[in-house]
Amino acid sequence: MAADSAFRFSIVASKNYFDTLGLPESVDLDPAMIEARYQELALRFHPDRVSTQAPSARRQAVEMTVEVNEAYHALRNPTNRALHLLTIHGLDLGQEGAIAAPPELLEAVMEKREALETAIGAGEPEAISALSKRATGLRDAALVRGTLALREQRWEEAALHLVEVKYWKRFLEEAQRGLERQPL
């Protein structure tokens, strides 16, 4: 049975990372504000700032920095930020079966995946790039729709759009790997 006997259940009880960074709980955060806040907190808490102090102070600094880093990672990227906002409102898309992807979406993804596999198999970087470009457009459009829904607190609808974002994101990662595997 080995490792197959473990399957993912869910992300551990989520913290509110907006609180951690002292930022408003919103999908529309100014990137410059996130960066500035992160830098300020890193300067205050980073273990390297207390590297010569007692172990207890260093451990505390690590704890604080770990928290700040997690929050920064969760909020700096618009997709992660949208997903985190959704999690706070009880819809954790990291959880298996949290929300069912619409069949039309699955069909569209499947179709593009087949095309991608063909392009990778045939060693056609131009075809892979073209598919990537289209998937990027679809991902961005879904993110815009998801962001709008989050703004209006329509959580279920936002979840559907964000599921789509996740599908295209994974597709894009595969396309990227396909490109990297192309012969030089």
């Binding site: 490792a3 259940f9 700032r49 590297s51 770990v66 997690e70 990227n77």
Partner: protein, 611 residues
């Protein structure tokens, strides 16, 4: 090992701290001395570059640097160069099979030198580090115990662990493993006060890294890293040899003509930096090589480099032309085609006014000074990221990413799993590193098994797996069954590395054959190390004496006395070994109690089965 000897003693006075660039081709030491940055002389003529070459003579004599290089021609298989390319590798990963003799053993690759003596890349690197330390100590007439050591940004877990093991063998505590491009950015940024987004393009003898950093005020934030730990100037040399002789003919060359051809190619490559054409001698014939021949031969390598440069900038969510500058580091960036490539990708002339050989060591020295500064008088701070994703094997052999690459460190991520079958009481945890979708294509770091899950229906148990990555980019994994509170903690120890126990026993084993320079050097090192441990343990014992019972105290004190007696010359290996062991044994329960107090998590010991 778990006794008092292994508890860090903060009160212990420390020597000078240095920054070390442990390079594929050359290694350097720099330090901040009374506020002035200095790169230390390593060779007799005052050159700061120590060639990263180790020669093992048949009589057991080990030489490093220029002296070792004199044996490249007459004794190539016992003269190890570019050992960094072998760090953390197993035999199957090894490039240049014909250059050396290898032991046919599983796990960590081992060279066979000086009549079949197996030497790992970790031990060979330790020889270089020891030499660097001794030179620096001689320069200052001062003990050096702690260093910031640089590694390629793209080094994986086993390569990082290997570097730390090498430092330990060389008597150095690693204050921080620092990424080479980050070190370069630190040196450049602190000197010039540069602000904005910069790319550091670092091409050394055997590794290629690119980092994108944001410099704001005095904070150096790494946004993304990329690279290839198996691509560097050595590949240019090989491309020249292949270009002239043909790949098929090169594959059949014996070690000496191969080494000679590579050396000739290296000289030709360097000459082509300033000349349009050169004549080189290869296999007893003269060949004319033009710069355009060379550029044609390395074209595939240039394409690969360009791809990594573009991907890394994209990962940082920037455009190549949107950067404020591109810093070139590493000797191989002297190649004109590389400079042209950087200019074309980034749309601006690269910054080349730094000494590409020295800037990494200088940055390491800066970071060492920052970390050792008691008052933290500088506001400078480095915020680094993890270069490769870390994950777990999930159903169907898929790698489930837990910590994504380019996440800021230190970081912790947890994921909860559940049981798949009724009555299931154990769960295999397989930790992998890499970006590929399937576990089989990623690097396997560790496997362990969480046992003792209370039996119940499928899906009832909750097992939380936590990944923690420290500031050195090193991973530890713990698993925790939430209902029973059962937990296991694992320090990942990669298969292509040395366990702590192996490092300890290597240090001790050197006592057994107390002949030759190396062994005598090692004994002296071990003696110092044991004295340091003994006095540290004694201090810990006095601080925490109220936590030990009277009998325990008496026994530990007596054994420490015996250890100190064993340290007075003449040293007898067995006696010292036994004394160390006795202290460890007597102090283990107390040490464990102390550790449990400080580490919130209880450690239920089960060793990782090294994969």
């Amino acid at each position: 090992m778990s006794g008092l000897l292994h508890i860090e003693d903060p009160a212990r006075p420390r020597g000078r701290t240095v920054g070390i660039d442990l390079g594929t081709t050359n290694s350097l030491v720099a330090t901040v001395d009374n506020g002035t940055l200095r790169v230390l002389p390593m060779e007799a003529d005052g050159s700061p570059l120590l060639a990263s070459i180790v020669h093992y003579a048949a009589d057991g004599k080990v030489t490093v640097g220029r002296e070792a290089a004199t044996h490249l021609a007459d004794d190539p298989t016992n003269t190890l160069r570019s050992v960094k390319r072998f760090m953390g590798k197993v035999l199957a990963d090894v490039p240049d099979h014909q250059a050396y003799n290898f032991a046919a053993s599983p796990g960590l690759v081992r060279f066979l030198v000086a009549d079949g003596q197996p030497v790992s890349p970790i031990e060979a690197s330790a020889e270089i580090l020891r030499h660097l330390r001794k030179r620096a100590e001689a320069h200052f007439s001062e003990k050096i115990e702690r260093a910031v050591v640089t590694v390629p940004a793209y080094f994986d877990e086993s390569q990082r662990q290997g570097t730390i093991s090498a430092a330990r063998l060389a008597g150095l505590e690693v204050l921080r493993l620092l990424s080479e491009p980050t070190a370069a950015a630190l040196a450049y940024g602190l000197d010039t006060g540069a602000q904005g987004h910069y790319a550091v393009f670092d091409l050394g003898g055997g590794t290629f890294d690119v980092s994108v950093l944001k410099l704001k005020d005095s904070v150096f934030q790494v946004m993304a890293v990329g690279g290839d730990t198996q691509l560097g100037g050595d590949d240019f040399d090989r491309a020249i040899v292949n270009g002239i002789l043909g790949t098929a003919a090169v594959a059949t060359l014996a070690a000496p003509p191969f080494a000679a051809s590579m050396a000739a190619a290296r000289a030709a490559k360097e000459a082509l930096t300033t000349n349009e054409s050169v004549t080189m001698k290869i296999l007893d014939r003269e060949e004319a090589v033009t710069r355009s021949d060379f550029e044609r031969w390395i074209a595939p390598i240039l394409l690969r480099i360009e791809e990594v440069l573009r991907n890394t900038v994209r990962d940082a969510e920037l455009e190549p032309t949107g950067l404020q500058g591109v810093i070139l580091v590493g000797g191989s960036t002297r190649v004109p085609a590389i400079r042209a490539l950087a200019a074309s990708v980034f749309g601006r002339a690269p910054i080349t006014d730094l000494d590409p050989d020295q800037v990494v060591a200088m940055g390491a020295a800066r970071q060492a000074a920052l970390l050792a500064d008691e008052d933290h008088s500088s506001n400078a701070l480095l915020l680094d990221v993890i270069p490769l994703s870390l994950g777990l094997e999930a159903m169907g052999g898929v790698a489930e990413k837990i910590v994504e690459r380019n996440s800021p460190i230190p970081i912790r991520r947890a994921q909860t799993f559940t049981t798949f079958e009724d009555g299931q009481t154990g769960m295999d945890i397989h930790v992998v590193q890499g970006e590929r979708e399937f576990v089989a294509d990623c690097r396997s770091l560790a496997r362990f098994r969480l046992t003792g899950i209370p039996p119940g229906p499928a899906g009832a148990a909750r097992v939380q797996v936590t990944f923690e990555v420290d500031a050195n980019g090193l991973l530890s994994v713990s698993a925790h069954e939430l209902a029973s509170g059962k937990s296991q903690r694992v320090q990942v120890q990669p298969s292509a590395g040395l366990t702590d126990l192996e490092v300890e026993s290597m240090l001790l084993a050197s006592l057994d054959n107390a002949e030759g320079d190396i062994q005598r050097r090692r004994i002296a090192d071990l003696q110092v190390e044991a004295m340091r441990l003994a006095s540290g343990a004694r201090r810990q014992l006095e601080i925490h004496s109220e936590k030990a019972d009277a009998r325990e105290l008496t026994v530990i004190r007596a054994r420490l006395d015996a250890l100190e007696a064993a340290l007075i010359a003449p040293i007898e290996a067995d006696r010292l070994r036994e004394a160390l062991r006795a202290v460890e044994e007597a102090s283990a329960p107390l040490a464990e109690r102390l550790m449990n107090e400080v580490v919130a998590r209880a450690a239920v010991g089960r060793r990782v089965e090294d994969f």
